[in-house]
C-alpha cells in the first residue's frame, strides 16, 4: 500500500526543567510567566543562582534592584550570583 502524505502538522511541547513547579517570588508556575508578562517562554525566562535556586528572571531582577547592598537569594540568603553555566 502506498501512502501519500498530503498534509502534516508539527506539534511540539516544551517545559522548563527546574527543581520546583512555581516561582517562589510570584508563586506563578514556571511554565507560565511572571505576573507582569502575558506569554511564557523566551520572553519570560527562568534564571538560576549559583545557590541552585531558580526564579522568573523578571521576579529576581526586580528583587535584586530593590536591594542596593547585600544581594541575597530570597530562598537561602546566600549571596546571589547568577549561574551562567
Amino acid at each position: 500500500m502506498k501512502v501519500t502524505i498530503k498534509k502534516w502538522t508539527g506539534v511540539a511541547t516544551w517545559k522548563w526543567v527546574a527543581n520546583d513547579d512555581n516561582c517562589g517570588i510570584c508563586r506563578m508556575a514556571f511554565d507560565g510567566c511572571c505576573p507582569d508578562c502575558k506569554l511564557p517562554g523566551d520572553d519570560c525566562p527562568l534564571v538560576w543562582g549559583q545557590c541552585s535556586h531558580c526564579f522568573h528572571m523578571h521576579c529576581i531582577v526586580k528583587w535584586l534592584q530593590s536591594q542596593p547592598v547585600n544581594q541575597q537569594c530570597p530562598m537561602c540568603r546566600q549571596e546571589w550570583k547568577f549561574n551562567n553555566k
Binding site: M28, L39, G41, W63, S66, M75
Partner: protein, 182 residues
C-alpha cells in the same frame, strides 16, 4: 513555539486595540495575595477578618494565644498589602493596646521579617507565625517598649503581673491599657 510566535505576532498586530471586555487585569500584588490567602494555614489561635470580601489587600488578623504570658488575651492586627507586594512586606499594625516589649503604643510591631529580614518568598502565613511567636516569646532585646523589656529581663514574675493587669484593663507604668480579654 510555532503557536507562540504566531500569538506574539497577533499581539503586535493588536497592540493598539484594547482587550475585549476591557476588564481590569488583576495586579501582581493581587494575584500573589490571592494565592497567599488560599493557601493560608492558620494555627487554631488565629483568625482572619475581611471587612471588604472583595479586597484581599486589607484585612485583619485576630490572635488569641492559648499559652504563655498572653493566654486569654485577644489581639487584633491590621494588614495592608501594598502594590509592591511581595517585593515589600505588608504594613502590619497592632490595633489592640498591649503591654509588650516588641509592640509600642502606636501599634508598631518589631518583627524582623516585617522589616530588614523580609524576602519575597515569605508569605502571609510566615507573618502570622512570626506574630504568634512574639506572644509566646516576647523578645527583650531591641525593644519598642523599653520599660516592658526591662521588666521582662529583670523580673519575669513582675512582667507577668503587668501583662495580666494590662489585659484586664488598667494602668501599667502610667499608661492606660484597654481591656482585651477574650
Amino acid at each position: 513555539m510555532i503557536k507562540l510566535f504566531s500569538l506574539k505576532q497577533q499581539k503586535k498586530d493588536g497592540e493598539t486595540t484594547p482587550r475585549a471586555g476591557n476588564q481590569k487585569k488583576a495586579s501582581a500584588a493581587q494575584l500573589r495575595i490571592t494565592k497567599d490567602i488560599n493557601e493560608l494555614n492558620l494555627p487554631k489561635t488565629c483568625n482572619t477578618e475581611f471587612p471588604d470580601p472583595d479586597d484581599l489587600l486589607n484585612f485583619k488578623l485576630i490572635i488569641c494565644p492559648d499559652e504563655g504570658f498572653y493566654k486569654t488575651g485577644r489581639f487584633v492586627f491590621s494588614f495592608k498589602v501594598g502594590p509592591n507586594y511581595p517585593h515589600e512586606p505588608p504594613k502590619v499594625k497592632c490595633e489592640t493596646q498591649v503591654y509588650h516589649p516588641n509592640i509600642d503604643q502606636q501599634g508598631n510591631v518589631c518583627l524582623n521579617i516585617l522589616r530588614e529580614d523580609w524576602k519575597p518568598v515569605l508569605t502571609i502565613n510566615s507573618i502570622v507565625y512570626g506574630l504568634q511567636y512574639l506572644f509566646l516569646e516576647p523578645n527583650p532585646e531591641d525593644p519598642l517598649n523599653k520599660e516592658a523589656a526591662e521588666v521582662l529581663s529583670s523580673n519575669r514574675r513582675v512582667f507577668e503581673t503587668n501583662v495580666q493587669k494590662a489585659m484586664r484593663g488598667g494602668y501599667v507604668g502610667g499608661i492606660y491599657f484597654e481591656r482585651c480579654l477574650k
